[in-house]
């Protein structure tokens, strides 16, 4: 009975020990992904910002500018791309909506972002755009990969429609969570005018006035490394309308401000990231290490049971009944023990005699087996 139990324990030991690397290196990369149906919103604010008043074409100070970012997963589009490419993708339709302190629209820029659900690498399957202009993204946007590394990443800037490095600058603690801090600076660059502006202004009317839009920003992200989700984001953002062919004329500040996450949205993000972090850690740490330890314990228990199991019983049960007659003492050749310990221990010179035909209860000490009747 003990020998059978030790074999069952051995099977479970191997089961759990094998699950450990399988979960970490096979299941996790396939199961950890951004759901294609995700919907998420975020409000960022710039207090005491400068805005361009399109009615007077003069810059003015406002108490607050809000930037509302919404990400909406398009499941049907993701499934179409999956059918075509065989890849798990996420299609985010996003909108960056900028509103002044009275809630009136300052600008809005829609985007379509197609990326690999597991690695967050962009997937060029058609349909990617920024404000209606086709783009070909390189690098990440909005979210870092699961298990973010301490290194620079390429980050797509939707204003310039180009990618540039976002530099890893060390670890920081944000609301009790250890984060990786990343920073990117976009130098003054001429960028396209958003297609939706206040008072019906369009890129064409802005051009007719003789203006062009320039932009610079210092972008900062505090990324929770297990999930790759930013728990804080800030930008020191400046936009100017510069006079074409009139370098001496003072540019108009279209927007200037220090943009930060609104505290209630940051709280919600921290809560969400904290719960998702536990799920990822479950797959990458808790289960693999737990199962490995459990496998080791079960193996130890199995070995202990095997060591305590009666020796030689396997042979006794396996042998046919010896016909009645005078008993002879014989020596068997050296052979391996059966069962689990047989993998590790060689047993030499056990007595071959002693079969009593008692089946599972037939164990007798060797000394009694050798005792003539």
């Amino acid at each position: 009975m003990r020998r059978r139990a030790s074999l069952v324990l051995l099977a479970f030991a191997v089961f759990f020990a094998a699950l450990s690397p399988l979960i970490r290196w096979y299941a996790f990369p396939r199961l950890a992904k951004i759901p294609p149906s995700q919907y998420q919103d975020m409000v960022l604010e710039a207090k005491n910002a400068t805005l361009l008043d399109y009615a007077t074409m003069k810059s003015k100070k406002v108490p607050k500018v809000s930037i509302v970012q919404t990400l909406k997963g398009n499941v049907a589009a993701a499934e179409k791309i999956k059918d075509r490419t065989g890849r798990d993708v996420v299609v985010w339709d996003t909108l960056s909506y900028v509103a002044d302190d009275k809630g009136k629209m300052v600008s809005q820029i829609p985007e379509r972002y197609v990326f690999d659900a597991h690695s967050q690498e962009p997937v060029h399957a058609g349909g990617e755009h920024v404000d209606g202009d086709p783009v070909r993204r390189q690098g990440i946007e909005y979210k870092w990969p699961f298990l973010t590394e301490k290194r620079d990443y390429a980050y797509f800037d939707f204003q310039t429609r180009t990618s540039g490095p976002i530099h890893y600058k060390g670890t920081r603690t944000v609301r009790g969570i250890e984060t990786y801090y990343f920073e990117q600076t976009i130098p003054w660059t001429k960028v396209k005018v958003p297609k939706k502006l206040p008072l019906g202004a369009t890129p064409e009317t802005v051009e007719q006035i003789g203006l062009e839009r320039w932009y610079t920003t210092k972008r900062m992200f505090w990324v929770e490394p297990v999930t790759g989700a930013p728990v804080d984001g800030q930008e020191i953002h400046k936009e100017e309308m510069r006079w074409k062919d009139q370098p001496g004329k003072k540019p108009l500040t279209a927007f200037a401000g220090h943009v930060k996450m609104r505290p209630d949205f940051q709280d919600a993000t921290v809560d969400l990231v904290s719960s998702q972090r536990q799920l990822v850690l479950m797959m990458t740490s808790y289960l693999p290490w737990g199962f490995l330890a459990l496998g080791g314990l079960l193996l130890a228990a199995s070995l202990v049971l095997e060591a305590r199991a009666p020796k030689g019983r396997g042979e006794l049960r396996a042998r046919p009944r010896r016909p009645r007659g005078p008993r002879r003492r014989t020596e068997s050749p050296p052979h391996e023990t059966r069962g689990l310990l047989g993998l590790f221990v060689r047993r030499v010179g056990s007595a071959d005699a002693g079969s009593s035909g008692h089946g599972c209860l037939g164990y007798r000490p060797r000394s009694s087996a050798r005792t003539p009747r």
């Binding site: 191997v14 979960i23 299941a27 294609p36 149906s37 409000v43 919404t70 909506y97 209630d264 689990l340």
Partner: protein
Amino acid sequence: MRALIAAGIGLAAALALVLAVTAIGAPPGETSEKPLHTTVPAHP
């Protein structure tokens, strides 16, 4: 020999479980009915 068989059963069961779970995966869900915001939400 029996030990090897027991170990093989454990390994096969682990492989089968992981392959089954990863093959099933997670349901894709549906596109949210909620709109892309063109107003500032009062709360998350």
